[in-house]
């Protein structure tokens, strides 16, 4: 194929070529109303202990299983008769009180895998526990509905599986200046400047050139567009805070990106969990609070949905080292202005009926959460992205 045709196809086609007609029609409808909708995904990496995050403070079984690690009733920020927030989550509780938070309990999948790697893969690819997919669910969204890698941006220097599609991938950057500088090194630039439309686009070589051109133009676009807005709010001075600050700058600069992905590390708390987790939750919630304020100030919060998940929760029972071991189902947070069900979406975790490993049993498949977001928020065909139809929830 001549590259000229190839390019013609790929600009037109990268979004439309692989999409059946009925979806194209659908997409056209969605554009007018949902053009500005953004999704921000935060992974609490390492397996956050959900039971000490949203605390079942009236449940005796909780206290019995965690003689040293349970959070005493009077340290809990009570939200309902059953559940309360960890005190480090005070900023999140504030958002909750304003009706900006929806918490879904017991989210997981059948036959949970307790390996960080595998379970993260499962959450990122939206696969079954015994299925290996090589593309992520956001990647497949870019494939079908994106025109450019910057349709989805990971706030990091290298790209995670969640962002990899079959024909197009997202782009990773913590710092648009560095990304731009890296695509703009003198030699790289020279090679690119030479490119006319006339060359062949053979299979892999064509793919390399296409990726190179996309990298360059994405970097340039992100760099130039994001310069228009610099955040004036003070974020907590840590890398996670910075990642959210950059995300806010992207969103408030009206970057034509739909999905942002941030992974916050440190949640693998096998030993001496109490202090560590407390600090982590504080970092998380304080940063998110500023982030929300930043968006509100610029009137973009109404178009932003924030999803927070962890690859698994921790075991109900504490371990001997003052920590918890890898578990299964966990809570998921949704933050936004348009939530239909504010506060707790479903029942508190059932601590009586647990699995043979001593872990919570899921009642909500995580892919139902994705399906809902894809369908109702991003307004695209969720089943074709998730490879299967999942029942929708009604949080939005």
């Amino acid at each position: 194929m001549e590259r000229r045709d190839f390019l013609k196809q790929s600009t037109l086609a990268s979004s439309l070529f692989f999409v059946p007609n009925f979806i194209k029609a659908f997409e056209n409808v969605s554009k007018s109303t949902f053009k500005h909708k953004k999704l921000v995904i935060i992974q609490l990496s390492g397996g956050n202990d959900g039971l000490n995050t949203i605390i079942p403070y009236t449940n005796d079984i909780y206290f019995r299983n965690r003689p040293k690690l349970s959070i005493p009733k009077n340290n809990v920020i009570k939200a309902t008769d059953e559940l309360g927030f960890h005190k480090s989550l005070a900023p999140l509780k504030k958002l909750y009180d304003q009706g900006y938070v929806s918490i879904i309990n017991n989210v997981g999948y059948p036959n949970p895998n307790r390996s960080h790697f595998r379970s993260t893969d499962i959450w990122q690819t939206a696969s079954n526990a015994d299925e290996y997919l090589s593309s992520g669910w956001v990647g497949r969204f870019i494939d079908k509905y994106g025109k450019n890698p910057y349709t989805a941006i990971e706030l990091d220097d290298s790209l995670s599986l969640i962002m990899k599609g079959k024909n197009m991938n997202g782009i990773a950057t913590k710092n648009p200046n560095i990304l731009f500088a890296n695509t703009n090194t003198a030699y790289f630039k020279k090679v690119l400047e030479q490119q006319t439309d006339a060359h062949l686009s053979e299979h892999n070589l064509g793919y390399l050139y296409k990726t190179m051109i996309e990298a360059k133009s994405s970097a340039k676009y992100i760099y130039e567009t994001s310069k228009t807005y610099k955040s004036s709010l003070e974020y907590p001075n840590n890398p996670f805070g910075n990642q959210l600050k950059t995300t806010a700058e992207f969103i408030n600069s009206d970057l034509d990106s739909k999905v942002y992905y941030v992974s916050m590390g440190g949640f693998d708390t096998h030993a001496n969990q109490a202090n560590k987790q407390s600090k982590l939750l504080k970092t998380y919630s304080e940063s998110v609070e500023v982030f929300v304020n930043d968006l509100k100030k610029n009137d973009t919060f109404k178009d932003t949905l924030i999803l927070t998940f962890s690859e698994f929760g921790r075991r109900v029972q504490q371990n001997a080292a003052g920590g918890t071991d890898h578990g299964a189902a966990n809570n998921v947070f949704l933050i936004g202005e348009n939530l239909k069900i504010k506060g707790f979406y479903n029942d508190a975790p059932n601590l009586v009926n647990i699995d043979t490993n001593g872990d919570l049993i899921h009642t909500v498949d995580f892919r139902s959460v994705y399906a809902t977001i894809l369908d109702k928020w991003l307004q695209v065909d969720d089943a074709s992205i998730l490879n299967k139809s999942f029942s929708k929830l009604n949080f939005i």
Binding site: S45, G46, H116, F117, R118, T120, D121, D130, Y132, S134, P149, D156, D157, S158, L159, S160, M163, K164, N169, G170, I171, A172, K174, I178, A181, N182, T185, Y187, F188, K190, V191, Q194, Q195, A198, H199, L200, E202, H203, N204, L205, Y207, L208, Y209, T211, M212, E214, A215, N238, P239, F240, S263, M264, G265, G266, D268, A271, K276, K279, L280, A321
Partner: protein, 463 residues
Amino acid sequence: MKQKHIQHLYWRASFGIDVKQIVSLKSASKSKVVSKLFFDSKEFKVLELDLSEFDEIKYKTNKELSEKFSEEELQKLKNRRNKKVRDLNYAWIDKLGESKALLREKMTLFWANVFVCRDNDIFFIQNYNNTLRKNALGDFRVFVKEVAKQPSMLKYLNNKQNKKKKPNENFARELMELFTLGVGNYTEQDIQESARAFTGWSYKNNGDFYLQKSQHDFDEKTFFGKTGNFDGDDIIDIILEQKQCARFICDKVYRYFINPKVDEKRLEEITNIFYKDYNISTLMEHIFTSKWFYDDENIGVKIKSPIELLVGIQKVVPVTFDKKQQLNYLQKMMGQTLLYPDNVAGWKGGKSWIDSNTLMFRMKLPSLLLNNAVINLEEKGEFEDSFEQYYKVQKQRNKYLKITKNWESFDDKHQDLTAEELKDFLILSKLDKDTATFLENLEIKSNRNFCVQLMSIPEYQLC
């Protein structure tokens, strides 16, 4: 043999070729060149680290260790042990570049992505790695049976939990889905029945395989229409009776060694060869001596894996990493860390190596290694890291790679080459027209310089 064909062969069967070697091979016939490859790989030399410091804790279970050591001591031990797996990674990469047994090493790397496994126990994982190396060119039947008995594998795929009263199907499933047949070529019942045959397959603390008789199901099983008191070895034999097994492996071989686009007729041809006796050397020799292997459509069309790229550059300009952990950094940034596969399905390879970020990094790699270019990117943290480690700001880290370059060796071999010759030596793929024009107009200051420039164009990503 034509220079281009020698280069093609050596890129696929190894990690590129020395420019001086080409000269010596040009006058030889194809069959001679190919048999030399096999001859040089005849010998099997283990890859072994000095692990004497671990003698006292060798082959101890976590439980035994925790009885002997405090929590803190244990953590330190584990860190040291895990670090040793990294050391094995570095030693393996060195071996890829230096070994005389080129084909054996290339095949070892190939098999590591078929029989995918991961383990923090340095003794076990080293053993597993050498099992791949030992069988890399041998009898596939023996190979599968030996790999299946590796402690790392039994551990990784939960066969220790596979017990008569409560079978765990993980190993049986992956054996068929990912190692021998491919999804859709067996039934759920085949998995359940074969899982029973692997019950009780376990290992001693010292890594020796043993059958835990009390946990083994000695009763009758029905597998692929056959009924008998099968054990795991019988199951593997029955799997190999399926022609699909030969086809599945040959498909992987085709994509890895020949072309990412499979020609069904050729696949059928090599499947028939392999199915006869499952001899890996026979299969590979058939491929490397076939006329069609050297067809233009098969040359320079494969995207190099990060390891192929890294080792390939070092073959042209030998480098020594003064800080070995920087090797780890490079692997992580490009998405392939040896001994740390993402999951049991292995690295997908091909186009999936490439995204905007990895491509930019890969194109910058030659100047990072050879020209003191600066790194502006940080690697991701590990799951087990604390918040601080996860986000460790690399302020202190020298943003340059600390590398000793042996340019003299490069000069010695490449000084007298013309620009055209150097280009033909480094670039195997068809050149993009505009890039070719660009290279022609480039003022060539030195062959050293031109070498780095050539290695920084997209075409160098292909072999």
